[in-house]
């Protein structure tokens, strides 16, 4: 147990700083700070050891298989980190003249064009810093567009019940009323339910495709037609974009706006919860509303290319104060360069791996099957899935009392991160698996075998899992009841 606030060493032990160049300043007495924050007093070796110890109690993709559905936990190439540590990145000021940022702006420009092409959109802004902020930004653009064309009465946003929670939350933050429509029993979008709710108050529909069940919506074009005929806009949640690069795109499906998760599809590391980046792309009718900055290129007489910042004429303004998460854009640029047009191969392998894992879990050998208490059920019937799939643990729970959560916790004992748990909510006892394209066949085989083994284990052992992790099962209710949200320090 290493406690940061247990370090109470000498003053200034941590890192020595040069002396002030002047002590000739005077602040009003009332404004002077009397008690310094009770931060630790620790030397560099102590701090290094503390955080190294903490890192051993964390689990990343680097630690092991991480099939967390909807999160696209793919390998993060290390050259991307090397690049953002180079001079000319962390030491750039956002307000510096454009002449100081030409290299960065060249990267922005290339990323805008690449993202436009991959999604079939006309214009991309790199401003939003997370997927949810991308959703919010696009819905704000749609809102201003409707106000502009005299359709400000459009105050409702439709989301399927399988949607990510950010979709309704982002639209609600814009002031929209949310209409949730149920999915069909097979997990697909219910067009009749959609037809029943669209009208002249429909602002937009927000949907991800493939859906959170990993199913490609076969009638997506018809859904887009229904919404467009009612005068609404189609918004594509790009969380599941990793499945379809080069195969189809949101533009072909009839979408008007889309966000990209650079931290999913384009390998910006997730960093324990962020940073991410959530650029958005739109069709031309929405382009004038995008937040600044966009990068535009021009060429002088000698063929020299020059990049400038550009603010669209009816821009909604800013959603982050600066140029978005520039460092994430640069990492994702390096990632894109690794694949280039072979991004299609990337998606093929993401889908290959997901289908292979699903096949391996659902088709155990007769010997293994004979030992399994109960097999999980498919979250949605489908011959093929895309990059992810869901399983319902209801049959297991009914037969043994072991829940989806118990299985998720037991997987931790085997050295895996658990799949996404209890989402989407329309699948009971749901586990959602996304292996990504960067897992080997052997790793997938081993995971499937271990998963099946858990289904044969003594239910009591599974219910009390995990057993081999740094701490045993954590009591989340205790935390919410007691709310100890900081270290007491001196107590």
């Amino acid at each position: 147990m290493s406690d940061l606030f247990g370090f109470k060493g000498a003053e200034g032990a941590g890192y020595a700083q040069p002396d002030p160049i002047s002590d000739d300043f005077e602040f009003p007495v009332a404004l002077k700070r009397e008690n310094l924050p009770r931060w630790p007093r620790a030397s560099e070796p102590e701090i290094v050891r503390h955080y190294t110890w903490l890192s051993t109690r964390s689990h990343g993709i680097d630690s092991g298989f991480y099939p967390l559905g909807s999160c696209t936990m793919k390998h993060n190439p290390r050259v991307n980190e090397r690049i953002v540590q180079m001079p000319g990145m962390n030491d750039l000021h956002a307000l510096a003249p454009a002449s100081h940022l030409q290299g960065l702006m060249a990267i922005f420009h290339e990323m805008q064009e690449m993202l436009e092409h991959c999604a079939g959109m006309d214009t991309v802004t790199l401003q939003p810093v997370a997927g949810a902020q991308g959703e919010f930004t696009a819905m704000r653009c749609i809102q201003e567009y409707h106000r502009d064309i005299g359709e400000s009465h459009r105050n409702k946003v439709i989301v399927p019940d399988s949607a990510h929670g950010t979709n309704p939350a982002s639209a609600a933050m814009c002031g929209y009323e949310i209409i949730e429509i149920p999915s069909l029993d097979n997990g697909q979008l219910d067009l009749d339910a959609l037809r029943a709710v669209v009208g002249n108050d429909t602002a937009a529909m927000m949907i991800t495709n493939p859906s959170t069940l990993g199913i490609f919506e076969p009638e997506i074009a018809e859904a887009a037609k229904i919404v467009h005929d009612a005068g609404g806009q189609m918004y594509y949640d790009g969380a599941n974009f990793n499945a379809i690069l080069g195969k189809t795109n949101p533009g072909l499906m009839g979408f008007d706006a889309v966000h990209y998760n650079l931290h999913k599809t384009f390998s910006q590391p997730h960093g324990g919860g962020g940073p991410g980046a959530g650029p958005i792309g739109v069709k031309s009718h929405l382009a004038d509303y995008l937040p600044a900055p966009l990068v535009v290129a021009s060429e002088d007489e000698e063929g020299e290319v020059w990049f400038d910042w550009y603010e669209p004429s009816k821009s909604i303004g800013k959603v982050q104060q600066w140029h978005g998460n520039a460092g994430a854009t640069v990492r994702s640029w390096a990632y894109y360069r690794r694949y280039g047009r072979e991004l299609e191969t990337m998606s093929e392998h993401a889908v290959l791996n997901a289908n292979y894992l699903r096949h391996r879990i659902m088709n155990p050998s007769d010997e293994v099957r004979s030992k399994i208490h109960a097999m999980p059920a498919d979250g949605a019937p489908a011959d093929v899935v895309k990059h992810e799939f869901t399983l319902s643990m209801t049959p297991v729970k009914d037969s043994t009392g072991v829940t989806g959560k118990d299985i998720a916790k037991r997987l931790l004992d085997y050295g895996y991160m658990s799949p996404t748990l209890y989402f989407p909510m329309i699948v009971p006892e749901c586990l959602m698996f996304e292996p990504t394209e960067t897992e080997s066949k052997e790793a997938i085989d081993q995971f499937a075998d271990d998963f099946l083994t858990i289904l044969t284990e003594d239910p009591e052992m599974v219910k009390t899992a995990p057993h081999d992790t740094p701490v045993k099962r954590v009591d989340e209710v205790w935390a919410a009841r007691n709310l100890v949200l900081r270290h007491p320090i001196d107590e």
């Binding site: 009332a30 404004l31 620790a42 980190e81 950010t166 949310i178 303004g317 392998h349 954590v474």
Partner: protein
């Protein structure tokens, strides 16, 4: 491109170069056969014809790590950084020194490549680090609770306002109304407007006096509103003692939200000690360089009354089934993945890794290190101010002001002219042209001197300004 056959390994690359990120390249057939499929196309048979791409992606061929690195070095090498020359540009992002240990440890794979710690049993390290971060921010601003981070200072300010409205709306006599300092920079103001318009919050501006300090007599009008948002130091780098009386003027039922430059709190009173209910700010000076504005991280700390309405992730202490100490994300019933459209915020991905870098930096500084860092910033600002205001043709915009980090000067010619001269003739980034925020201030420059400015830098700036003036004689 989409022929019926299984693709050969060469399909994954250009000539002899294959994409080196795919462990199963060349093993497609083996895996497909196991599933009873014959072609990769079978995997995409569910995509209807009418929405399929008919042409391959029209993008460049793949590159090797070496080629990408070379090109990145070339491109980033054309940028002009704040560390490569004397730079007096601040205005919300601050040049700093980040101890080497910070990026080295924060990029350990267990931190870098982990997701939000939804499974606490294998995420104790990041959870504890964030709980410690919450504690250090709580100590810094003197408020009981901090979240794990916001995107930046502007979204932190915006969501502090919507949070305060939810808490105070019922008792407010000025319903859905907040008062915001007129000196909040336009880009930050724009973020605030985007985030508050959906809740139909009406924003009134708080005026300032000629000396750049808040007009306290006018601020009384905010009483009964849901919130007041002001900054300390403000956009001109001014420290305002008057803000210490603000809470008593606006009353218990109006949230006082204060935006801070966190380094200043090594010398300046913590806002929680003079009435702030919520403190926000740009955490950037701790942990990471200005980074072209992102990824950085926003601070958000508050009093207990706001906990259930606050945005963002929060880590709490708990216990495991053996009764041992453990950490977990808590209060998630506020969040979008549980509450959907009734969530307090849509924030999901945040800036945890950058906050972790901030925590490492703060832990290494310690209390006295923080104080020294603040003294270095105050000293650099003071030295620059004295030297520059002594020049002919330069006057202080706020001559009586007490400044931290930055101060505004007024010239008798357009500021852009001097800044261009310094940039092109002297290799100095001279400051921020205030007409970019407020067009009427075309002769004014905001000059920032952080701990990274030394006496020679100031001397160079002084000489540059003199040379420019002489060019007009």
């Amino acid at each position: 491109m989409t022929g019926g056959s299984v693709k050969s390994p060469q399909r994954g690359g250009r000539g002899d170069i294959v994409v080196d990120q795919l462990p199963n390249l060349g093993r497609e057939k083996e895996m497909l056969t196991a599933m009873g499929m014959s072609s990769m196309d079978d995997l995409f048979s569910d995509i209807p014809e009418d929405v399929r791409r008919t042409t391959p992606l029209d993008l460049r061929p793949p590159q090797t790590e070496e080629e990408i690195l070379r090109e990145a070095r070339m491109l980033l090498g054309t940028n002009i950084s704040v560390d490569s020359r004397p730079s007096f540009l601040g205005a919300g992002l601050y040049s700093n020194f980040v101890p080497t240990m910070v990026p080295m440890l924060a990029t350990r794979g267990e931190f870098l490549t982990s997701y939000t710690p939804y499974q606490p049993e294998v995420s104790q390290g990041m959870l504890q680090a964030m709980w410690e971060f919450q504690t250090m921010i709580s100590e810094l601003v003197s408020l009981p609770v901090s979240n794990v981070s916001m995107y930046d200072a502007s979204t932190a300010a915006a969501e502090a306002i919507t949070c305060a409205v939810r808490v105070h709306e019922r008792k407010a006599t000025q319903k859905s109304t907040v008062y915001v300092s007129e000196l909040v920079p336009p880009h930050r103001m724009s973020v605030i407007e985007n985030y508050t318009q959906g809740a139909e919050i009406s924003i009134h501006k708080l005026p300032h006096r000629e000396d750049g300090l808040l007009d306290l007599e006018a601020a009384v009008s905010a009483e009964g509103a849901c919130a007041v948002y002001v900054e300390q130091p403000n956009a001109f780098g001014l420290l305002d003692e008057g803000l210490m009386q603000l809470k008593s003027l606006i009353g218990e039922n109006t949230a006082l939200i204060i935006g801070v430059q966190p380094v200043s709190l090594g010398l300046i009173a913590a806002p929680g000690d003079y009435g702030a209910d919520i403190v926000v700010g740009e955490g950037q000076p701790f942990g990471i360089g200005p980074t072209a504005g992102g990824p950085i991280y926003g601070l958000f700390a508050c009093r207990d009354a706001y906990i259930r309405q606050m945005p963002g992730r929060i880590v709490g202490l708990s216990k495991d089934s053996d009764g041992g100490r453990a950490f977990t994300l808590t209060l998630s019933t506020r969040e979008q993945h549980i509450r959907r459209h009734r969530a307090t915020s849509n924030i999901c991905s945040n800036e945890t890794l950058i906050a972790l870098m901030g925590a490492m930096h703060m832990a290494l500084l310690g209390p006295e290190g923080l104080q020294k860092l603040a003294r270095r910033n105050a000293g650099a600002c003071s030295a620059a101010k004295k030297a520059i205001l002594a020049l002919d043709g330069v006057e202080a915009v706020h001559p009586q002001g007490v400044h931290f980090n930055e101060f505004a000067i007024r010239l008798n010619k357009p500021a852009a002219d001097l800044l261009n001269f310094l940039d092109h003739e002297c290799d100095i980034t001279g400051g921020f042209d205030l007409s970019q925020w407020w067009p009427e201030r075309e002769n004014e420059i905001l000059i920032c001197a952080t701990d990274q400015i030394d006496l020679e830098d100031i001397e160079e700036l002084v000489e540059g300004i003199q040379d420019w003036e002489e060019g007009y004689e």
